[in-house]
């Protein structure tokens, strides 16, 4: 199973949907609410997101070595090998 990391905002409804997707499908994932961590940690997270091609839009999922910006269950399925 690919490692799943999910960056979210506590204020974002699509981030809640993304968390619900991984929970509902029993896919282990680690997640961080960007707006609830320290400024230093926020800078680290934004660097990582920028490196993956993101620009600060949430939710931002890193699945294995690929990333998905925005709530996209079809793309999550594809990257997790559930859909071809």
């Amino acid at each position: 199973m690919k490692k799943v990391k999910l960056y979210t905002l506590s204020t974002c409804p699509w981030c809640k949907k993304a968390k619900a997707y991984f929970t509902k499908n029993n896919i282990p994932f680690e997640h961080v609410d960007y707006d609830l961590v320290s400024e230093e940690r926020q800078e680290e997270i934004m660097d990582e997101i920028n490196e993956c091609g993101g620009t600060g839009e949430f939710p931002f999922a890193i699945i294995g070595k690929k990333s998905v910006c925005g709530y996209d269950p079809d793309e999550y399925d594809r990257l997790l090998g559930k859909k071809k």
């Binding site: 974002c12 699509w14 993101g54 600060g56 839009e57 925005g70």
Partner: protein
């Protein structure tokens, strides 16, 4: 003013603004209610009703582009999606917002210009930011 009151005020305030931009509140009332409540809370905390689905940074120029309604700053991006990023607003002709997907701006740029996407990525790289003496954002 309570968050509930402010939520109503924001709805009253934003309606005519987005109407002039060719947008309307999403028909998904639950989503609209949630987003407006988050914006009222963000305004309480930061003094500004930021988009609830985009990162607030310490870069003021960036942060000003995510003040709701942020449609004018992301016109091409949102027009391509027929919705704004958080989904609070949709194009006036949209009746089923569930059909609309979030498409990252970078994906649209990639379709149009791989070179521009590369340049934008470089502009936002930590190294370039440090060179410009900027704080991250």
């Amino acid at each position: 003013m309570t968050v509930q009151d402010r939520k109503q005020s924001l709805r009253f305030l934003f309606g005519p603004v987005v109407d002039a931009l060719g947008y309307k509140f999403s028909p998904d009332e639950e989503l609209v209610d949630f987003c407006l409540e988050q914006e009222a809370r963000l305004e309480e905390k930061h003094g500004i009703p930021f988009c609830p689905c985009q990162a607030i940074t310490k870069n003021r120029a960036h942060d000003m582009t995510i003040v709701c309604p942020c449609i004018p700053f992301h016109r091409k991006h949102y027009d391509a999606m027929k919705r704004c990023w958080c989904g609070l607003y949709v194009h006036k002709d949209v009746t089923d917002p569930d059909r609309l997907k979030q498409i990252p701006a970078s994906a649209l740029e990639q379709k149009k210009s791989p070179q521009r996407r590369k340049e934008r990525k470089e502009e936002k790289s930590p190294q370039r930011r440090r060179e410009r003496g900027e704080k991250k954002g």
